[in-house]
């Protein structure tokens, strides 16, 4: 089976872009804190078309039956739906997004028609690529006007070994649509994960996106949000960190292109020895975007020596009628709080766990899926105890 003509056309565009841009390096401002060299050095081979199609079918088959009708592969897309692929995730300056298209043969599209509410969460469980493989993953979530849907993407992995997942997810929430999205990056040790979640929110649309960036050796997820019509409201929540040789990068860009839109960011890192966390968040308010309200928070907890965090919370504002604020804090657990818990009879580890889980609770409690919450809490406990 050969690829769809539209996919071939997208690939040609991507090839041009990739040839022009090449891989980013340390001098590329957006990649200042995350090295690409280890991924290049690993010389990973792209997963072939047959294997990609097999995986896409397996992931699709695992979707709950009551939601399965909304999930399609690339083989038979209506033109209006197909046109959404590659529309929000621009290629300029995104070498990995170009690479994703270059290696891509199949993906999944979740299309929810106007006014339809999908009750069951749609869970896409991607698993982990074979050692030595570079796997592109592509998803489009298209929620038509007033539609409602919850989508969860999981990237789980056991064991160890170098492999790359290059995931691009596009979310288009048309007027009044409500989308809840969660991405759990729990790749195995030694694995690389580069992902991009591009979101476009229309008039009075509401998008909630959760990011759990807790696995892998080197993982980066870019969240690109465009608020393109009045009343759009986007909330981004992210939890990252862990123990051991991990590098977790979250790169957030929120563009307020229209008046009366709202955005909130809350990202928290829990980093133990050996782990490095990177947060970059930009709120860009265009000249005409009056009555913008935007907040941005990045809090980082360093559990012990050898943990490292780089944070860049940024505001770029071209309009006076706005309320924007950001904050970033980095520190360790509060000694007084620890002492208090110890004085109440808790042992040191339990006290540390309790405070750390409390630090992350606002994010874990908000997760749209019980299984994800349990997973996140497990990972945090591991980070504290060194398990």
């Amino acid at each position: 089976m050969s690829d769809q003509p539209w996919l071939a056309a997208l690939r040609a565009r991507a090839a041009e872009r990739f040839a022009a841009d090449g891989w980013p390096d340390r001098r590329t401002e957006h990649w200042k804190y995350t090295p690409v060299a280890p991924i290049e050095r690993a010389r990973l081979a792209p997963v072939d078309a047959a294997a990609q199609r097999a995986e896409v079918q397996a992931v699709r088959a695992a979707v709950a039956p009551e939601a399965a009708d909304f999930v399609r592969d690339f083989s038979d897309l209506p033109p209006a739906v197909q046109a959404g692929i590659g529309r929000v995730a621009a290629l300029e300056g995104h070498a990995f997004a170009a690479r994703n298209l270059l290696d891509l043969h199949d993906g999944l599209v979740i299309h929810v028609p106007r006014g339809v509410r999908v009750a069951a969460p749609i869970v896409l469980a991607w698993g982990t690529p074979a050692v030595g493989a570079a796997r592109p993953v592509r998803v489009l979530v298209l929620a038509e006007a007033q539609a409602e849907v919850t989508v969860i993407e999981r990237f789980d992995g056991d064991g160890e070994g170098a492999a790359l997942t290059n995931a691009v997810t596009e979310i288009i929430a048309r007027d009044g649509a409500q989308v809840r999205y969660a991405k759990a990056q729990l790749e195995r040790d030694g694995a690389f994960h580069v992902g991009r979640v591009a979101i476009e929110a229309g008039r009075d649309a509401r998008v909630e996106a959760h990011l759990l960036n807790l696995g892998g050796a080197l993982a980066r997820t870019e969240l690109d949000v465009a608020l393109v019509a009045p009343g759009a409201d986007v909330a981004l929540k992210g939890l990252f960190g862990g123990r051991g040789a991990r590098h977790q990068d979250q790169h957030v860009t929120v563009r307020h292109q229209s008046p009366r839109a709202t955005s909130d960011q809350d990202f928290r890192g829990v980093l133990a020895a050996g782990a490095r966390g990177v947060f970059t968040g930009l709120v860009h308010v265009a000249a005409g975007a009056h009555h913008t309200r935007a907040t941005q928070q990045n809090r980082n907890l360093l559990l012990d020596a050898g943990a490292h965090v780089d944070t860049r919370p940024q505001l770029e504002i071209h309009n006076d009628d706005v309320q924007c604020s950001h904050g970033a804090t980095t520190g360790r657990l509060d000694a007084t709080a620890l002492f208090y818990l110890r004085s109440r009879g808790l042992d040191a580890t339990t006290a540390r766990q309790l405070l750390t889980l409390a630090f992350a609770a606002e994010l874990t409690e908000a997760l749209p899926d019980e299984a994800l919450r349990a997973l996140a809490l497990d990972r945090l406990r591991d980070a504290i105890t060194g398990g």
Partner: protein, 482 residues
């Protein structure tokens, strides 16, 4: 466009003229335009500099030739033609021996600016090392300072009278190849100020330099070096004003501070270079490298700046906190209006244990002004118990301006504690309304609110400067509200 009170106010701000835009008619003794090894040699020869310094300049020049102009700052300007600049301009005639020999027209210039030189200096109790274009024209209070053992002189004098000190410390904080503009300065710097405070001495008065760019098309490349020995204390004031011209002028200064054990340096700047006209024509390009080294334990360096002038400001007064328990502070007000652009902030590099830093930055944008805070807080792995607090607030006046915040925070020590917060908003209607209904004019109300917005920084300024800074802010904001 709808004519709201805000718009009228903004227009009035934009229309406000530049008060210090006069030209002093003193014959200028300038080198031909352009830069080359010959110009570097000629500057060095004119100042009868020792061989090592010429060598240092030449190395800097060769480094500069290999460097590229930085493009990362959020400022836009046409390409600078480095061959169209005069790199040295001095008032003609032999250097004055005392204030009485100083050209009266020069003194009149300072008079207009309100520099407390000559008798006025006595009243104000401030010693002034005034830099007129490139040569220091007069230094006062030398005797009283000499009594305390303080050295306060022009850079060229220091090269001749205190060569060991200059040689030891020159480039020790800002190496000659540190960045493009610092390298350029290192090659062609013409003069500046030198301060040395001996061990255990509290400088008996506040030291002040008044920089002034006068000759047409001349760049100003001054270099300041302040050394505070163990247990000493000094407060240094720097004020800048430039005449009104259509061409853009380049100002690339370097300031180096060294604070030894238990020493404290307080460096205050009020920068009011010509900002260009309401079309954004002309104005100073202020590309300055300022850095302080807290070399000894418990040393402290505090930067305070009020930036209301220049068409472009590119300036990051920084602290390298090496000594244990050393302290770095940065207090800044940056006001941009018309087409002014400011990309300013600080770097706090924590290396020693229990080092502390505070960053308070207030940006005010009006008209088409673009105001960027850019800063770095870096905690090294060995900086146990380091502490940083940053606050960057922006105030927007009018819908055409921009305010941007780009902090970089890097933490490699788990016992460090870092907090950063920033807000961006306009003057609230409620505040304005309250002031208006209490009988204040809109103009006074705005001025009051802006002063309140800036008060955490203004209170860090020494008395004389606080008055001037308050006046400058008010002048920059005043106008008749229609």
């Amino acid at each position: 466009m709808e004519k709201t009170p805000d718009n009228a106010f903004v227009e009035s701000v934009v229309r406000k003229g530049y008060e210090h835009g006069f030209v002093t008619n003193v014959e200028s003794d300038a080198f031909p335009q352009g830069i080359s090894e010959d110009v570097v040699r000629a500057i060095s020869a004119r100042k009868a500099e020792p061989e090592w310094l010429l060598d240092w300049r030449l190395k800097a020049f060769r480094t500069w030739q290999k460097m590229a102009e930085p493009a990362w700052a959020k400022v836009g300007y046409p390409t600078i033609d480095y061959d169209a600049i005069y790199y040295y301009a001095a008032p003609k005639g032999p250097a004055p021996k005392s204030l009485d020999e100083v050209d009266p027209e020069l003194l009149a210039t300072f008079e207009k600016l309100g520099v407390p030189l000559h008798e006025r200096a006595a009243l104000a109790g401030v010693a002034v090392d005034a830099v007129f274009d490139s040569v220091s024209v007069g230094t006062t209070f030398k005797d009283r300072l000499a009594e305390a053992g303080v050295i306060f002189c022009s850079f060229s004098e220091a090269v001749h009278n205190h060569p060991d000190l200059v040689r030891k410390y020159l480039g020790s904080v800002v190496p000659r190849g540190d960045n493009y503009f610092a390298a350029l300065n290192s090659a062609v710097f013409s003069d500046g100020s030198f301060v040395f405070i001996p061990e255990g001495t509290r400088c008996p008065m506040e030291l002040s330099t008044y920089f002034r760019i006068n000759a047409k098309n001349s760049g100003q490349f001054e270099r300041t070096l302040i050394i505070a020995e163990r247990g000493s204390h000094v407060s240094y004031l720097e004020g800048c004003t430039a005449p009104q011209r259509d061409e853009n002028q380049l100002h690339a200064a370097v300031v180096e501070l060294v604070a030894h054990e238990d020493a404290e340096i307080k460096y205050s700047t009020v920068q009011n270079w010509y900002p260009g006209d309401e079309q954004g024509k002309g104005g100073i390009y202020n590309f300055v490298t300022k850095r302080g080294k807290c070399a000894g334990a418990r040393s402290k360096i505090s930067w305070t700046q009020v930036e209301t002038g220049s068409s472009i400001t590119w300036k990051y007064p920084s602290c390298v906190l090496i000594g244990d328990d050393s302290v770095g502070e940065f207090y800044s007000i940056a006001l941009t209006r018309n087409y002014q652009q400011a990309d300013t902030g600080t770097k706090m590099v924590h290396i020693g244990k229990r080092t502390r830093s505070t960053i308070i930055s207030k940006g005010i944008s009006a008209g088409h002004g673009q105001n960027t805070y850019r800063g770095l807080v870096e905690i090294h792995a060995g900086a146990d118990g380091a502490r940083n607090y940053s606050e960057c607030d922006s105030l927007l006046i009018g819908s055409q301006c921009g305010a941007h915040t780009f902090p970089y925070i890097t933490c490699g020590n788990d016992s460090a504690q870092i907090e950063h917060e920033a807000t961006t908003s306009k003057i609230s209607e409620d505040q304005l309304f309250y002031c208006r209904q209490r009988g204040l004019s809109e103009e006074d109300a705005v001025s009051l609110i802006v002063t309140g917005f800036c008060k955490e920084v203004l209170r860090e300024l020494p008395m004389e400067f606080a008055v001037e800074a308050n006046k400058l802010l008010a002048v920059s904001l005043e106008g008749t509200v229609g």
